[in-house]
Symmetry: C2
Subunit: 243 residues, 2 copies
Amino acid sequence: MTYCVGLFLDQGLVLLSDTRTNAGVDHISTFSKMQVEEVPGDRVLALLSSGNLAISQAVWNRLQEGLWLDGEQQTLRSVPTMFRAAQLVGAAVRAVFDADGPALRAQGVGFDVALLLGGQIAGQGHRLFMIYAAGNFIEATADTPFLQIGEHKYGKPILDRAVTPQVSLADGVKLALISMDGTLRSNLTVGMPLDLLVVREGTQRVALHRRITEEDSYFRRVREGWAAALRDAYAAMQVPDWV
Amino acid sequence: MTYCVGLFLDQGLVLLSDTRTNAGVDHISTFSKMQVEEVPGDRVLALLSSGNLAISQAVWNRLQEGLWLDGEQQTLRSVPTMFRAAQLVGAAVRAVFDADGPALRAQGVGFDVALLLGGQIAGQGHRLFMIYAAGNFIEATADTPFLQIGEHKYGKPILDRAVTPQVSLADGVKLALISMDGTLRSNLTVGMPLDLLVVREGTQRVALHRRITEEDSYFRRVREGWAAALRDAYAAMQVPDWV
């Protein structure tokens, strides 16, 4: 399993992923699920993946090698728009399905992959997409300014209640970490360390790319501070007069 | 879908269930998922159910009619201990499986049911069980003083962080409602109104049994107050010095 979340904020993008992969509960490993393409000042794009690791690595390799799109060989470093970038990722997913789908099906293995693509290309707005196993995709908007892949349920209530496009990047980092913390506690197949990426709107470059480990003192404060804040918040709530 | 939660506290039990049942998204109805047996001063038992409504109603009907256990016809009003009560519920689940399982399988319908059984019989401690579709069961202990059935993920982080056996019944009611609120927001197949039951340890009677509707002013305050408290709590958290 995996948990990845992307926040689509007025100030830019906050992207966070865990690094645990597992084949059963007795075979766990650490793999980054976040790939970044940066041409400073021109573009920055990040791809986060969940599902079968062999599929998501194959998708990334095909994107690196380039795929045929609109009559040209394209990569994430050459596509003219974020919409084309999402189409290119979808084309890579479909190419992997064409190559590996029948063999996976023969082994009774589903074609399980989902991806988040966020970024900005110079002269255009920043955008955030979720690409499905069918290669089609949806885009975050101001109505729902976050997207999640993998084990999304535990970490969703805090996002539902607090994420708006007006949230600052710094607050977005806090909310993504709080959402991840709830997931880490409840699902053993989501694990530390974490990869965090922040892209500030209009810069077309990485503002922050950080590997957050168990020893990270800020994340430790988030974990302890949030649990304490929740306990204080419910303790401060009035008791119903019918109890 | 369904969400039911039971808290096993030193002061007693807090049990909360939603009332929505659905067959597809275009066929939703309201059914109580909480059944209560009370012989004031002698015993109080409550059964909460999730899964296929035909199965859980059949289980309850068989419990009302009585089942053969240890060479005697027993009901929840006659069993001598809570352990026997859990066995009786398991026997009812197995009887329904024997009667309906083959026909369900022939239609491609799984045997989907899970139940929470909580209560107290005079002279014994209060106990809380979760009974599976196989008729076997587990029991809440001080290490994990809550059990959930149905759509449990959205509402679990707050319970993980705040529920201990020392939590008061009044605070338990708040926590169960907060946990339910997060679930209601995220899963359309969990719906109002709610059924709440509180049993105070050592009394063998219902302390509180309340139907909570959309108009309930306290639950409205919980929903609004909790969302505001979360926003305040994350806003008050320090920003990482590396942002």
